[in-house]
């Protein structure tokens, strides 16, 4: 049964939703509006005056080969982060789901990384893989592998992907585990009696029944990879080497606050905003249809 509260006047409901509206307005609508407005201007280097350029900033961006390269980088980066973090999380969740004893401890330990801020996680991984004093680098050296993510593009990308995915695994793990535990045990037993062995059961029963969880995590993780990985990239590679790890959100920062090109930075923010909106709409429109509830 649905319960609805009916208000007599307009003022009380308005007052009740006001905090949410105010927060959204101050932290989203206002900055987003500012970004759209600023994207149409080029400010002078001292920020004293602004020159109207219309869509000039966008025109310049789309012709810029660095900016187009950043698109590809972002696509590779977010795909890898999403696949790695969800894949590992699902694997761990399947293992934890089969565990009878000590699952509480196991779960707690797996959830801890989530409490680590992205920037701190970045520094942790940076120390491990530091080209001169890193532990992992040293061991890799013993094995004859010369690790240097400061110079090597793909090593840099690998490192930021692993560092970004690492903190995310906990979160995904929790959702996958909850999803797995929500599947009635008798359904799995029925499939076992029907002759399906573990892998067949997983492919034909468990994974389809997990699809609402998987879909939700897919949306959340892509958005995470687009925005919240800034801290990791900033601490580990600062977008280098040669912009090999400069994802779109990092470019907004480096062009705007390092390069002082605020107009272009604002234009990039607007493009980013559009991309995420489109991605989310596409995901809900097309992928959700294939989800079994």
């Amino acid at each position: 049964m649905e319960k609805r509260v009916t208000f007599k006047g307009m003022w009380l409901p308005l007052l009740l939703i006001a905090p949410q509206i105010v927060i959204t307005a101050v932290f989203f609508f206002y900055p987003a509006g500012q970004a759209i407005w600023q994207s149409l201007f080029i400010p002078d280097p001292f920020g004293l005056s602004m020159k109207w350029v219309g869509l000039g900033n966008f025109e310049f961006l789309l012709k810029d080969s660095f900016y187009r390269a950043s698109f590809v980088t972002t696509a590779i980066f977010s795909t890898l982060v999403t696949v790695v973090s969800m894949g590992v999380a699902l694997y761990l969740a399947v293992l934890a789901d089969r565990l009878i004893k000590g699952s509480g401890t196991y779960r707690t330990l797996l959830i801890w990384p989530y409490a680590v801020a992205p920037a701190v996680a970045g520094v942790l991984w940076l120390f491990m893989f530091n080209t001169r004093v890193g532990v992992v680098t040293w061991y890799l050296g013993l094995l004859g592998y010369d690790w240097n993510h400061v110079l090597n593009d793909s090593e840099a990308m690998g490192l930021v992907v692993v560092a970004s995915a690492w903190g995310r695994i906990s979160y995904n793990f929790l959702f996958f585990l909850a999803g797995l535990q929500a599947i009635p045990k008798s359904v799995i037993e029925a499939a076992a009696i029907d002759g399906a062995r573990f892998w067949t059961r997983f492919r034909t029963i468990v994974f389809p029944l997990l699809s609402p969880t998987t879909f939700f995590l897919l949306v959340v993780n892509i958005i995470y990879a687009f925005f919240e990985t800034f801290g990791v990239i900033h601490t580990i590679t600062s977008g280098g080497p040669q912009q090999a790890t400069t994802i779109l959100v990092y470019k907004v920062y480096s062009d705007g606050f390092v390069g002082q090109d605020l107009g272009s930075s604002a234009a990039q923010s607007v493009i980013l905003l559009l991309i995420v909106s489109i991605l989310t709409v596409v995901q809900f429109k097309y992928i959700e249809r294939r989800v079994h509830y």
């Binding site: 009635p184 008798s186 037993e189 076992a192 009696i193 029907d194 699809s211």
Partner: protein, 338 residues
């Protein structure tokens, strides 16, 4: 089709033994109902036969083959679960075909078998639907269909009707019985409902605290219960238990005397030594249940013909019964035969 044999079957969780040794030989095509209150181990027993629980000690033989360490899928059984356990993301057809597809049965053979099962179970119009679009009774049928199409040697039913409403339960009970007769498949059926047990079973196993108190044909169990528990559990309303000492029946070691409600009749107080006050009566039409309190505080239920006069509340009645209808039980609940 196969025989099923349980030999001194035991199950422990850690140090707690929950099944204390069950023995039974089940003939080919026999319908066995395992009945008992919740927590008596009846579901555990069934799940051991299914291979969903390990056997602690003893043996399970299906068709003469020891299956103790055989995987559920290789035991040639099919199971119907209490919550049906249908695959929610598959259509009715796919639900029934799932096991056959895994067994790599040819496509046209699958289609034929599913169509046949759907015909028997009146599911033909629903084959393309998802389980959530079906009523409880239809889901129950799909679960049955999934068991039938595989042509197993043994059917296992784990309280398949307890999620249905009363009317549907009676209807499905008849259908299950008819289906089992037609197919002639050996069946084990778990229920807590003694009416289901009485009506379905060729033989029933009455379980109590992990022990099979009595195994036998329903009417034999009813007429001749082996323990106080069986006498109390089978039959509704329940058997009356009276203190043997107070009745003056001095049977060696006897603690309680059980008399079924239909064996007691109300008589004039002058004709008998036993009397009670009527607490309330339940006229059910064909019969009337009269609940009385004896002078020493014991509760007694009398079942009489609906046409007989009904005593009013608070009235004192004499009670009488034949000595042959008395069942004497020892302190530990075991029946004592005179």
């Amino acid at each position: 089709m196969a025989t099923v044999t349980l030999e001194n079957l035991r199950k422990s969780y850690g140090n707690t033994e929950v099944i204390h040794g069950v023995d039974i030989d089940i003939a080919d095509g026999e319908f066995i109902v395992i009945v008992g209150p919740s927590g008596c181990g009846k579901s555990t027993l069934l799940r051991m036969v299914a291979g969903l629980e390990t056997v602690t000690s003893g043996d399970i033989l299906i068709g003469g083959r020891n299956v103790n360490s055989v995987e559920p899928m290789d035991r040639d059984i099919a199971m119907v679960f209490q919550n049906y356990a249908l695959y929610p993301h598959m259509s009715v057809f796919d639900n029934m075909a799932y096991g056959l597809k895994i067994a790599k049965v040819p496509k046209d053979e699958i289609a034929k078998r599913v169509a046949n099962a759907a015909e028997i179970l009146q599911l033909v119009p629903y084959l393309t639907r998802k389980p959530r679009e079906l009523s409880g009774g239809q889901r129950q049928r799909v679960a049955m269909g999934r068991a039938i199409v595989r042509k197993p040697a043994v059917f296992l039913f784990d309280e398949p009707l307890s999620n249905l409403d009363a009317k549907l339960r009676v209807q499905m009970r008849l259908e299950i019985k008819a289906l089992q007769r037609d197919l002639g498949v050996t069946s084990l059926y778990v229920t807590h409902d003694q009416v289901e047990a009485m009506t379905l079973a060729d033989r029933m196993i009455v379980m109590n605290g992990g022990v099979a108190d009595q195994i036998g044909k329903p009417l034999e169990v009813y007429a001749d219960p082996a323990t106080e528990f069986v006498a109390g559990f089978i039959g509704s309303p329940s058997t009356n238990f009276l203190d043997a000492g107070r009745l003056g029946r001095r049977v060696e070691g006897g603690a309680k005397v059980g008399i079924r409600p239909e064996h007691i009749r109300t008589v004039a107080q002058s004709e008998t030594d036993y009397a009670g006050k009527v607490v309330y009566s339940e006229p059910l039409g064909a019969e009337t249940l009269i609940h009385l309190k004896l002078l020493d505080g014991e509760d007694v239920t009398v079942r009489q013909e609906g046409a007989l006069p009904i005593p009013s509340e608070g009235e004192s009645c004499g009670l009488a019964w034949e000595a042959k209808d008395e069942m004497v039980f020892a302190k530990d609940g075991i029946r004592l035969r005179q």
